[in-house]
């Protein structure tokens, strides 16, 4: 399939969104938003979760139809009822949740829905040839015959980008493309975005990362509460001005003050020579009241280390001592009872019961505290949950609401509320602010700091360097399953972390 079947618009036409409104079940998600996206530019859409930026992206890419207003390309309004129709106009989406068929090969995924075929028969050799050509053009190093499911998140994203390019997209909508990427993968993505625009393709970038937005974009549109706040040239914007636009107020400081634990604070967690799948010989201690950051590239074994500490992975060697006592057994349940709690990296897949109420999600781990002989004491549960919600600043109109109805930040806070109920001595928070808006991020940082001050030992695993550096009193850097560096005090710099994360032999 080539670009000749495009029904409207020619290369170089601008995409004009005029007066678009959208309501979901009576709730306005977008109100009268107008934006012009110039060909060959990077146009960022920013705003807090729920501001309407993803909705706008979905309208542009034909995933949802607007209630009012239209999307105009080359002077003709587009009537798109599906992403396929949008694709025919040269508009392609790379979604937050990647649309990859894991069992199909990389090349098959790239040409999914537009197979290189004659009379219904797929021409595999031709497809592979075209794939190689395309891969070379964008400079991706992907094998066409590997099952796509075996790829890393970053490589899956590359597959999606190649899919977009194979359709001769002139507008690519990217929804949080770097949310699941580590820093060097993000750098590669940025390179790709720049080369896309150099070829005349416009990129509509929806992102939470303001530094990314500022360094990549030509134009930035800020949305708040479904309304267009302003569209500005990126050259005239600063992080502060963007935050101010998103929040309607300025954010005092990104991180709370550090109050490191005294050096003689007792050790609460002692991990020694721990080995598990993707974890090799890791040893460290965690003190009472300390926030320990774990940095490293995606795939360096950070989450696996967390699982191994929880005794949730088959560890082949080493020991985990919690409060001086060996943590035996191999279930998260045992660890929780002993006072070690994990907030997993993906709240939707591993953390929450999305369809169930706020109340049920919070009390799940310690239902025994609000029940008698297996019978849930609903009044006691409600009181307990209400207290936890105010403590962890969960904003929900009603604790009976299902978790899906909450913003990403509040969903994450549910997991914190659940953890607080467990009254742990050690909390491991894996990517605690992934997919969380700016305002909630700060609230979560405050929570972590507060919990540390209350005497918990806290481990923060994060792909966001500034988060690790801004929160932690001490940083461990992981590489290939090993701890490649331990950084404290003035050594905690971005450069040092990156060096240790990438270093080939020096650190280990």
């Amino acid at each position: 399939m080539d670009g000749d079947h495009r029904t409207a618009g020619a290369p170089g036409d601008d995409l004009v969104v005029t007066g678009v409104s959208k309501r979901f079940g009576g709730v306005p998600a977008l109100s009268q938003v107008s934006v012009t996206i110039k060909a060959g530019t990077v146009h960022a859409l920013i705003g807090e979760n729920g501001a309407g930026k993803s909705t706008l992206g979905k309208i542009i890419s034909g995933v949802i139809e607007p209630d009012e207003g239209s999307v105009v390309l080359g002077g003709a309004p587009l009537h798109m009822r599906s992403p396929r129709e949008a694709m025919a106009h040269g508009i392609v989406t790379i979604a937050q949740e990647l649309a990859i068929v894991p069992s199909l090969s990389v090349a098959e995924n790239v040409y999914l829905g537009a197979e290189v075929a004659t009379g219904g028969f797929v021409r595999r050799r031709e497809a592979r040839r075209r794939f190689r050509e395309l891969a070379q053009r964008v400079g991706f190093d992907l094998q066409p015959d590997v099952p796509a499911g075996a790829l890393s998140t970053a490589d899956k994203q590359k597959v999606e980008i190649m899919r977009a390019l194979s359709r001769n997209a002139s507008f690519v909508v990217m929804d949080e493309p770097s949310a699941a990427l580590s820093s060097h993968e993000t750098a590669a993505l940025h390179h790709i975005i720049r080369s896309l625009t150099a070829q005349g393709t416009a990129v509509i970038l929806i992102s939470h990362f303001l530094s990314e937005v500022l360094s990549l974009s030509d134009t930035i549109t800020t949305l708040r509460d479904g309304h267009l706040i302003r569209t500005v040239e990126a050259s005239g914007a600063t992080e502060d001005s963007l935050i101010e636009g998103m929040l309607g107020r300025s954010l005092s400081a990104a991180f709370p003050d550090k109050t490191p634990a005294p050096p003689d604070a007792p050790v609460v967690l002692d991990v020694s020579h721990l080995c598990a799948p993707k974890v090799e010989d890791c040893s460290f201690v965690l003190h009472c009241g300390e926030i320990l950051g774990i940095a490293g590239l995606v795939g360096a074994g950070r989450s696996e280390l967390a699982r191994a500490i929880l005794r949730d992975a088959r560890s082949s060697a080493g020991s985990v001592r919690l409060d001086g006592q060996e943590l035996a057994g191999h279930s998260p349940r045992r660890a929780i009872r002993r006072g070690l709690v994990l907030i997993p990296e993906s709240r939707k897949e591993m953390g929450l019961l999305m369809g169930r109420s706020v109340r049920e999600n919070i009390s799940l781990s310690r239902l025994d505290l609000v029940s008698r002989a297996g019978w849930v004491a609903r009044l006691r549960e409600r009181r307990e949950v209400a207290a936890l919600m105010s403590k962890t600043t969960v904003k929900a109109a009603d604790m009976g609401l299902p978790a899906t109805m909450l913003s990403g930040g509040n969903q994450q806070k549910l997991l914190f509320a659940r953890s607080v109920m467990c009254a742990p001595t050690v909390l491991i928070a894996d990517e605690p602010t992934r997919g969380v808006d700016v305002g909630s991020k700060r609230a979560i940082y405050d929570l972590l700091v507060q919990m540390a001050q209350d005497g918990m030992g806290i481990i923060v695993i994060s792909s966001e360097l500034e988060e690790v550096l801004g929160l932690a009193h001490r940083v461990l850097v992981m590489r290939h399953g090993r701890i490649s560096a331990e950084l404290t005090g003035p050594d905690m710099t971005e450069g040092a972390v990156l060096a240790a994360a990438f270093a080939e032999t020096s650190a280990s």
């Binding site: 079940g25 709730v27 997993p344 019961l353 369809g355 781990s365």
Partner: protein, 336 residues
């Protein structure tokens, strides 16, 4: 509307979105709650008006009596479904328990006969549960395979003969003795259904069942013993199937090795699904299952009373099932 007045008070935050989201979600939740009750009520009223025989105590008690075994099995099946499983072996477990009770009852006390029958149900459930959770074989395949094994066993025990239970002294009384002119089968069923419905809705076990079916990995990381919970639901399902088999063997005076079978398993499943329990797990209620089973029974009863061609029953039931599953999928999608 409220948007502007509210923003005077506080800067518009996601709190506002949550507040307005409440109405939509409440509506959806109340649909789930009301889902089957409203059609049930309408059908009940329509039948009361159109058929003079319908609204007689004898007819209503008769319906409940006939549905006793299905209600018991469906109440436990709801737990299995909510925990993310499915049990297609209940039909044959029902028959195996029934014929075993009948056989043993010929020579031993009915107490022993019933106890052994129930123990068989427990055992079948335990095997199902362990195979599904420990060997990680899909519950659909596990229980389908088990249903053949169990039916084979039942045929072996009875050599294919009809097992007469009506001649066993006291056996018939088990399910047909009346109290307040309601047969004991109905009383037992009522107690069993209420206990299981409360187990699901009000106990920690019920919460864990919902969690295990809604998101097994999240539940496990939150400290729920997912495997144990799932096994327990299968054990309860096996027990309920056995109880149903014994009740019907007692009520009907005879039972065959292939009574029940796949037909019963699917009738039970239909009742649960029409009651609004999600086949995807993580959501459901015992109360609504009971109404779902009775809804299907009312359709059958109504068609009989009104003299409609019984072949229509099947067609109507099929369409209702499709609508029920369709609505479930639709609400799930709307929630994303």
């Amino acid at each position: 509307m409220t948007r502007h007045t509210m923003s005077n008070v506080a800067p518009p935050t996601d709190l506002e979105a949550v507040a307005s989201g409440t109405r939509a979600s409440r509506l959806m939740q109340s649909w789930r709650m009301a889902g089957i009750f409203i059609p049930f009520l309408i059908l009940f009223i329509v039948l009361s008006i159109t058929s003079s025989a319908f609204l007689h105590t004898a007819n209503l008690i008769n319906i409940l009596d006939q549905q006793a075994s299905t209600l018991c099995i469906a109440a436990a099946g709801t737990l299995v479904l909510v925990a993310g499983g499915i049990d297609l072996s209940v039909g044959s477990t029902y028959a195996l328990a029934g014929v075993t009770a009948g056989q043993i009852g010929q020579h031993h006390s009915i107490f022993i006969a019933i106890a052994v029958a129930l123990a068989i149900g427990l055992l079948v459930g335990l095997v199902n549960g362990v195979v599904v959770t420990v060997f990680k074989i899909s519950p659909l395949i596990t229980t389908l395979a088990m249903s053949y094994v169990i039916e084979g066993l039942a045929l072996k025990i009875t050599a294919g003969n009809l097992i007469l239970t009506g001649n066993i002294p006291g056996f018939t009384t088990f399910a047909t003795a009346t109290f307040l002119s309601v047969p004991s089968a109905v009383w037992m069923t009522a107690v069993f259904v209420v206990v299981l419905a409360l187990l699901l809705s009000r106990t920690t076990f019920g919460r864990y069942v919902v969690a295990a079916g809604g998101n097994a990995e999240a539940a496990r990381l939150a400290g729920v013993r997912v495997g144990g919970i799932k096994i327990t639901t299968f054990v309860l399902s096996g027990l309920a199937a056995a109880l149903g088999g014994v009740i019907d063997a007692s009520r009907l005076g005879s039972i065959l090795a292939n009574s029940g079978g796949a037909g019963l398993s699917f009738t039970v499943l239909a009742g649960i699904v029409v009651g609004g329990t999600s086949i995807a797990g993580g959501e459901g209620s015992g109360w609504r299952t009971a109404i779902g089973v009775l809804f299907i029974a009312l359709i059958g009863n109504g068609f009989d009373l009104l003299g409609v061609d019984p072949n229509w029953q099947q067609i109507v039931l099929g369409l209702i099932l499709l609508v029920a599953v369709g609505l479930d999928m639709w609400t799930r999608r709307a929630r994303r």
